[in-house]
Amino acid sequence: MTMEAASTQRTHQSLWDVARPGRSGIRLPESDVPAQAMPEASLLRDELRLPEVSELDVVRHFTRLSQMNFAVDTNFYPLGSCTMKYNPKINDVVASQAGFSGIHPLQPEETVQGALELMHRLQEDLQAVTGMPASSLAPLAGAHGELAGVLMIKAYHDARGESDRKVMLIPDSAHGTNPASAAMGGFEVVSVPSDEMGRVDLAAVEAACDDRLAGLMITIPNTLGLFNPYIARVCELVHGAGGLVYGDGANMNALLGRARPYDLGFDVVHLNLHKTMSTPHGGGGPGAGPVCVGERLEPYLPSPVVERVDADGGARYRFATPTQSIGAMSAGHGNFGVLVRAYTYLRALGADGLRQASGDAVLNANYLRRKLEHVYRVAVDRTCMHEVVFSCRPQRDKGVKALDISKRMIDYGVHPPTMYFPLIVDEALMVEPTETESKETLDAFIAVMEAIAREVEESPDVLLEAPHFTPVGRLDEARAARQPDLRWQAP
């Protein structure tokens, strides 16, 4: 008998493998009211094929699944543009209090004044960080904030009788959500080239500056991890042509207390609270994507916003809809549980702490850049912000791709960086260490990357077959796409 066969918990077991008819993982009380007539049978369902498992089955199954994940709590996770910093545990504890987690979104406002005050305070703090005069916490994620932003830009032009402004400029180095969001706002996407430093081409922007220009969507710092010193000039150009500037705040972790988008000329910026304000990423959500805006867009903010009303009995808080709002982004008021965590984080750091956080984030990225530049090609050889992009083109010429290097990192217990992004860098690896990682962790990572670089020279096969120690190896993704198996089916 092999060890695998003898194991009581098989690696690839599904919930249905452990299910047995008749088991249950919960017991609810009997009804305490007189029996009521049931609806007619034709409205009722007869079959519900959910797995039947005991409570311990549930715990063992999902605990085992969790153990197959890399996470910030378990591994260094330098996933570029995702800001995988430590998520303080107090944030979850605070958000789990019944006074936050247990309240209904449609309770009378007088019964939820504490929640409303928290939202109002967070609005003010995010406005302070971005320099913007107004904000809405309504968007539920970064891309949702982008959608809110482009809809506000559309509403602004429509209100001025300039509905012909249909062109949204987006650099070729942008995240895919930018063009997708612009398209959902009804805009035509025009891609603008970047120079070798990932900076948007000024001449190309200038050439597009006509009366069809709606705006520009641009990431700060840019997706090469660099701050464009001419960004204020870019904003002026767009404004001069009657357009507005959207700031993708995915990389705001570099700028906390260092620069404010409002000062640079941005009209709207979204913040990814799950990145910059350290709320847990949850395997791909939930996040939150509040939008902060300048004067031009304030009337168009998505609803709701929280207002403070000072009356004789003290301050009261209430939801309000801006005068020319683009409308609601969700049925609720925003991802409140995420907002509580973000507010707790902001209060834990304060202005000095945020500034130190961005400083250490940038320090760490530059430390990795200098320590690794002799083994991996740095995409742009200059001081970076919070992340550094390497190109594995030299390794590719030896038959090893960025993908193979990434998979080998897994064997050393490191979550791979973002691969093949930005698209303008060949064989890109985008490394974002974040400020919460210690020098020992960074030094260990440097040693891993040096070891892998040696393996590229000496034993490339070990990379091509990596990872070696995970529950599964490289998966047949072509099969997954050709014959989609998207749900369990009874055999």
């Binding site: 993982g25 609806p39 199954h61 309240i103 895919g176 204020a232 047949d476």
Partner: protein, 444 residues
């Protein structure tokens, strides 16, 4: 430059910072920001002072205590968000750091936990809705319904949708936000009076509807299909524990909010919008999808699949701009559904049904109140009250009861009340007593 701020989240000692700066070849951290023009660099941030962990509990915990929590007070508010029992295993599982602090499973070899949980979530959502496939999750039920309408436009090549006036008005608002800027026409009508045309991409229906009513959707599905349109339904997943699945009645897309199954109400979010459809339309589906496949040794494994639909590949031609899948919340729903099983989900639905019908019969017997009868219903109902709904709520709150939702726009003096298995008979009887008192004594 202020002194470095020692903090438990920031591990570097000042000596280490200096050592690292020397490696980089600069004299200070501030020099690393030299690309930011002086005029913009180092703005003063007007933020309140930092607090220690102990102080944070006091300060922010104080805000939590200023909210009235359903359960501490009888609560009959629903309207798409419901207080159902959440098995203890849900919190225990989704607070595990490996689920909580991982991200999108771009590297499947080290994300099998999230990916398999997603696949199992998709499987169970497909089953309860009666559909062939489901995605990994959308932001919430409202945006999920809006995306269903956009998907129907892509599938049919048409640009007009019909929305029932019995769809949750907060969902309808989001449908407007998403569809109108893209030039999609929206017509509103009562169920049964749809004016289909050859421009109709779909009809959006809610099940049970906003006022609690459960209708057989089969005739609607048939009429939509005859017109070449799709039927997209927003359904309460707990109701599907006892009522027929929309897929079983001909729906093409089924969406909704999984909040009632294993998700805290949390003042409106985070939740997850579920999204299920027929396999024929899978390539027009928005959002992330996990699929089962094998590795090079033939071992079963899971990976994100059909990614060419998504924004990171198709950019402005993607099926949606969505990037997240609210994975943690979806995992919570999967854990809750596993714990509940078919018996638990059915029991949860039936207890809600029984208690709600008990409450309705008691309230209907009161002088001054009328329960609106529109046929079969689940756990929510409209009462015509002696006063406006908002006044009723204010009077109820003075008696320590969190009332319902003012639906005066649909029924004069209408109050929408919701009852679940969490409401005890004592709470229901207290509500009935308070309503009697209000009718007898006016708006005090």
């Amino acid at each position: 430059m202020t002194d470095p701020f020692p903090h438990s989240y920031l591990p570097h000692t000042e000596a280490e910072r200096q050592e690292m700066l020397a490696v980089i070849g600069v004299g200070s951290v501030d020099e690393l920001f030299a690309d930011i023009p002086d005029a913009f660099r180092n703005p003063a941030l007007s933020l309140p002072p930092a607090l220690t962990e102990l102080e944070l509990f006091r300060e922010i915990g104080g805000l939590a205590k200023r909210n009235a929590v359903p359960g501490d007070y009888p609560c009959f508010v629903g309207g798409g968000v419901y207080r159902h029992f959440i098995p203890s295993v849900v919190g225990a599982m989704i607070s595990r750091g490996e689920f909580l602090t991982s991200y999108t499973p771009y590297q499947p070899e080290v994300s099998q936990g999230t990916l398999q949980a997603t696949y199992e979530y998709q499987s169970m959502i497909s089953e309860i809705t009666g559909m062939e496939a489901a995605n990994a999750g959308m932001y919430d039920g409202a945006s999920s319904l809006a995306e269903a309408a956009l998907m129907a436009c892509r599938v049919t090549g048409r640009h007009s949708v019909i929305v029932h006036d019995t769809v949750n008005p907060r969902y309808r608002a989001v449908v407007d936000t998403y569809l109108l800027p893209q030039g999609v026409e929206i017509a509103t009508c009562a169920p049964g009076s749809e004016a289909f045309s050859d421009a109709t991409a779909c009809v959006l229906a809610q099940y049970p509807d906003y006022y609690g009513v459960v209708r057989d959707l089969t005739p609607l599905a048939d009429r939509a299909h005859e017109a070449g349109a799709l039927l997209a339904v927003s359904a309460d997943p707990v109701a599907l524990g006892m009522f027929r699945a929309p897929g079983d009645m001909g729906a093409d897309i089924v969406t909704g909010e999984t909040q009632p199954i294993g998700v805290n109400m949390s003042f409106g979010g985070p939740y997850v919008g579920y999204f299920a459809c027929k396999m024929a339309y899978i390539r027009q589906m928005p959002g992330r999808i996990a699929g089962r496949t094998v590795d090079h040794e033939g071992r079963i494994g899971y990976a994100l699949t059909l990614q060419t639909r998504e924004q990171h590949i198709r950019r402005e031609r993607a099926t949606s701009n969505i990037c997240t899948s609210e994975a943690l919340i979806a995992t919570g729903t999967a854990v809750a559904l596993a714990a509940l099983g078919p018996g638990g989900l059915r029991q949860m639905a039936e207890l809600s049904y029984q208690k709600a019908h008990y409450a309705a019969s008691e309230i209907g017997a009161l002088d001054g109140y009328e329960v609106i009868d529109n046929g079969a219903w689940f756990n929510e109902f409209v009462v015509r009250c002696p006063l406006m709904g908002s006044q009723m709520n204010a009077s109820l709150w003075r008696r320590g009861i969190i009332g319902g939702i003012d639906v005066g726009e649909a029924v004069e003096n209408g109050l929408l009340l919701s009852v679940t298995e969490m409401n005890t008979r004592e709470e229901i009887d207290a509500l009935v007593g308070a309503l009697r008192e209000i009718a007898e004594g006016g708006a005090r």
